[in-house]
C-alpha cells in the first residue's frame, strides 16, 4: 500500500490545534488541498490544514472497504483500488490531482453515475473526527451494517466541515466493471423525454448518462459477455467520452463565470431560457452556465427541487429544518469554531432564531 500513499498521522497535532482554537475562541477554517475553491466551497481565511494528515489505515480487498486519513489524495486512492480491481462504490469527483478524501466527504458531491448507483453519503461506513470539544471521537466502523448509536459518520458527508475536523473515513467499495462502453446518439433537447424511459430499459447495465449540444451519451458497464450481446442492437456510435472530466467538473463547460446546478425530481420537465445547459442523472440534474440564478431558483423550487450556485450571483440557501441544523451544529460544535462562515452561508445558520 505504501507505494501508493504517503503515511503521516497528524491526529494529535490537529486535536491540539482545535484545543488551542477553543481556548482562544478562534474560529477555524478547515482546508484540504483547496481544490474546490473555484466551486465556492473553501472557507475564507482557512487556517487549519489537514492536507498532510494522510495515508491508508486499512485496506483489505475482501472487505470492500477502505479506511484512510482525510488528507490522502483521492487520485492515489483510485490507483490503489484499481490495482486490486476495485473502485469507490460512489462516483466521487476529483477536481485536481491534489484533491483530498476529506474534502470529498465534507462536500459530499456525486458524479454522473450517482443516478444509477449510490450516493457518496450512502457509502460512508465510519468516520473519526475532532469535535468542537476538542475530543477525538469515532462513529460507525468498517462493517457493512451497523446500527449502534446514531449515524454520525454519514452526517459528516456534505456537512462542509461545520461539525468537526474529519480525521479519517471508511468508505464502501465496489468491483471495477469488466467492460465499459459509451455510445453517442444525436438527440434534440425536446426529444429527451422520450429517451429516459428507453434508458430505464438498459438497466442494470446503464451506468451513466449525459446530454450536451444535441448529443446523448450513454455509458454501459458490466460483464463483457452481457455487453457484447446488448451492444449490437443498441444503435448509436461508439465514442471515447471523458466521463472523468465530467465527474471532476474539468470539462470546458464548467469553466464559466456563472455556473449553477439544478437538482430535480426524476422526469421533471424544465424549460431553461437563459444560458447553456448540460444534463446528467437522466435529466434529474441540469448544469447551467450563464444562467439567471434567482430565476432558476424560483423555477426549480416550484418543481420540488433546489439550486446550487457554484459561481456567479449567489442565492439564499434553502435547507430542510434550518432549526435542526442550528441545534446539531451546537451539539457538535458548542463554541461555533468550525467553518462558521460556511455554516451561515450554506445552511442558513444566521437568521430566524
Amino acid at each position: 500500500m505504501s507505494e501508493f500513499c504517503a503515511e503521516h498521522d497528524r491526529s494529535t497535532r490537529l486535536q491540539a490545534q482545535v484545543q488551542e482554537a477553543l481556548a482562544g475562541a478562534q474560529p477555524l477554517g478547515i482546508v484540504g488541498s483547496g481544490s474546490r475553491a473555484s466551486l465556492g466551497l473553501v472557507p475564507a481565511g482557512a487556517s487549519l490544514s489537514v492536507a498532510d494528515h494522510r495515508g491508508v489505515i486499512d485496506y483489505q480487498p475482501d472487505e470492500l472497504v477502505i479506511r484512510a486519513r482525510a488528507g490522502t489524495r483521492l487520485i492515489e486512492l483510485e490507483h490503489l483500488l484499481a490495482s486490486h480491481g476495485q473502485r469507490f462504490a460512489a462516483d466521487i469527483p476529483v477536481p485536481t490531482a491534489e484533491s483530498t478524501l476529506g474534502g470529498a466527504i465534507a462536500c459530499g458531491w456525486d458524479g454522473p453515475a450517482r443516478s444509477l448507483g449510490v450516493s457518496l453519503r450512502d457509502t460512508v461506513l465510519g468516520c473519526r473526527l475532532v469535535n468542537g470539544r476538542g475530543e477525538i471521537v469515532n462513529f460507525g466502523g468498517q462493517v457493512m451494517k451497523n446500527v449502534a448509536g446514531y449515524d454520525l459518520s454519514r452526517l459528516q458527508a456534505g456537512a462542509l466541515g461545520t461539525l468537526g475536523v474529519i480525521l479519517d473515513v471508511s468508505l464502501r467499495l465496489a468491483p471495477l466493471p469488466e467492460k465499459q462502453v459509451t455510445r453517442a446518439f444525436a438527440v434534440r433537447r425536446e426529444e429527451l423525454e422520450d429517451w429516459w424511459p428507453r434508458c430505464r430499459e438498459l438497466r442494470p447495465l446503464l451506468s451513466a448518462s449525459c446530454w450536451r449540444d444535441g448529443q446523448l451519451y450513454l455509458r454501459l458497464s458490466g460483464r463483457a459477455g452481457a455487453l457484447d450481446q446488448v451492444l449490437p442492437s443498441m444503435g448509436g456510435d461508439d465514442i471515447a467520452f471523458d466521463w472523468k472530466a465530467l465527474r471532476d467538473l474539468r470539462s470546458d463547460f464548467f469553466g464559466a463565470t456563472g455556473l449553477a446546478c439544478l437538482f430535480l425530481p426524476p422526469r421533471t420537465p424544465m424549460a431553461i431560457q437563459e444560458g447553456e445547459t448540460l444534463l446528467d442523472w437522466e435529466g434529474a440534474r441540469i448544469w447551467v452556465r450563464g444562467g439567471n440564478h434567482p430565476e432558476l431558483q424560483r423555477a426549480v423550487q416550484d418543481a420540488g427541487g433546489f439550486l446550487r450556485v457554484l459561481r456567479g450571483e449567489a442565492v439564499p440557501p434553502v435547507v430542510a429544518a434550518p432549526d435542526w441544523h442550528r441545534r446539531l451544529k451546537q451539539a457538535f460544535d458548542p463554541r461555533g469554531i468550525f467553518n462558521p462562515a460556511i455554516f451561515s452561508d450554506q445552511f442558513g445558520g444566521g437568521g430566524e432564531h
Binding site: 450512502d122 451494517k145 446500527v147 471495477l176 442494470p204 447495465l205 463483457a224 425530481p265 451539539a331
Partner: protein, 474 residues
Amino acid sequence: MSAEALLTELRSRLPAECLLTQREQIAPFECDALPVYCSRPLAVVLAQSEAHVVAVATACHRHQVPLVTRGAGTGLSAGAKPIEAGVLLVTAAMNRILELDRDAMTARVEPGAVNLQVSRAAAPLGLYYAPDPSSQIACSIGGNVAENAGGVHCLKYGVTVQNVVALRVVTAEGQVVLLGSQCLSQPGYDLLALLHGSEGCLGIITEVTVKLTPLPEDTRTLMADFSCVRAASDAVSAIVRAGVIPAALEMMDALAISATEAFCHAGYALDAAAILIIDLDGDPREVEAELLLVEEVLGRSGATRVQLAADDVQRALWWKGRKSAFPAIGRLSPDYYCIDGTVPRHRIGDVLEAIQSFAVNYDLRVANVFHAGDGNLHPIIMFDGREPDVLERVERLAADILEYCIAVGGSITGEHGVGLEKINQMAVQFSDAEIAQFMAIKEALDPQRLLNPDKQIPELARCQEYRALRRSHE
C-alpha cells in the same frame, strides 16, 4: 408532570376509540418481540393520522410525559418497550400506501404500512421494495426506518437508509418536519440518515417515501455444502474478492441445518458442517457469467457439493428453509435467544469458532444462520428457561459474543438496534466522549428527553458501572 391532566387533554383531542387506558386493553402492548422486557404504560394511543400524532406529541411535551412510539412491535431489542409513566403511541393503523410513482420509482406510504405489502403493491409496475427483514410479512416501514432494518438482500441493495428518499417527522415539540425529497441529492446535513436507526428517540415518523427497485429480470440460486465451517466462511470472502456482489449470501451451520431440515424438508445436506445459499440476480447474461465465476470460486474454496436450483420451486424451497430457521430451532429447544452483531467478513470463521468455545464455557448450545455476505451474524442461543440460573448464563454468553464482535472490529448490532437489550454493550463499543456526543445529539433534538428516553444511549454513569462489572468478571 400530571398524568390526569395529560389524559384529560388526550381525551379532548382524540377519538375515544384511539385512546386505551384500561389494563386489559393495554396488556397486548406491554412489550415488542423481545418479551423479557415489558412494562405497562399510562395509556396507549392507536393513531390514525398525522394529526393524532401531533396531538399526542404536543400533549406529552406540554405535560412533560415520556412518549414511546411503536409500529408493528416486531422489534428484537425492546426498542418499543413502553415506559410506565409514559404514553405508548402505536402507528400500526396508519398503514395506507398513499402513492406509487412509476416514473420516479418511489412509493409514499404511512408508517404502519407493512414491508411486504409495499412490494406487493409495487409488483404490477415491475418494481419492489428491496430491504427484506425476516419479519417482512408483519413489520412496518416506520419501524424499519426507526431501526434502519436490513434483511437478506442488503448486500447488493443496501439497508433501509439507502432505500428511503423522504420522511415526514413529528418532532418532540409536535412540529411537522419534512426531510429529503425525490431529488437524488439534498442540501444541508443528512438529517434523513440521522433519523434512520434513531429508534424513535429523535422524532416520530408519520410518512415515508421509499425508493423502489426494478424486479430483477432473472434470479438464480446456488447452494454449496462444506465439510468445515472455516472453509465456508473463507468462501464468502473469496466470492466478494472475485468481484461478484451476490443479491444474497447466507450461511447456516450444522445445528441450524438439522433443525431446519427436520422442520421443512428443504433438501439441505444433513452431513454438511455449513451451507451457503447464494442468490445472483439482474440482467440474465450477467447472471449467467457470474454463476460460472461463483461456481468456480466455490469449488476452489473446498465446497463438497454445489447445486444450482433447477427452477423457482426449488429456489423457493431452499429459501423457505432459510427463512423458517428461527421457528425450526424453536422446536428443538424450549427457549431461544437470537442476537445480532456484525464483523468484518474475513473474521467470520474466527468469530464462529470463538462462539462455540464461549458456549462450552456456559454449557449452552448456539446455532448460526446469518447474512454472511455482509458479516452480520445471528447466533441463536438455545436454552431451557426452567433451568435455574440459565438466564444469567445466556446473558453473559450473549455479552461475550457481542464484545468479541467489537474486538475484531465489528459492531454490537447490524440491524436489530440497541433498544434496551444492548444498552450495556454501548459502553464497550464507545468511549465516554462518544456517548456524550450521542447524548448531545439527543438533547439537541429532544431537549426535554421525552422521546423513548430510556433506550439506545446509556447514561455515562451506567457505562462506567458496566465496564467495572465486566472487568470484575474477567
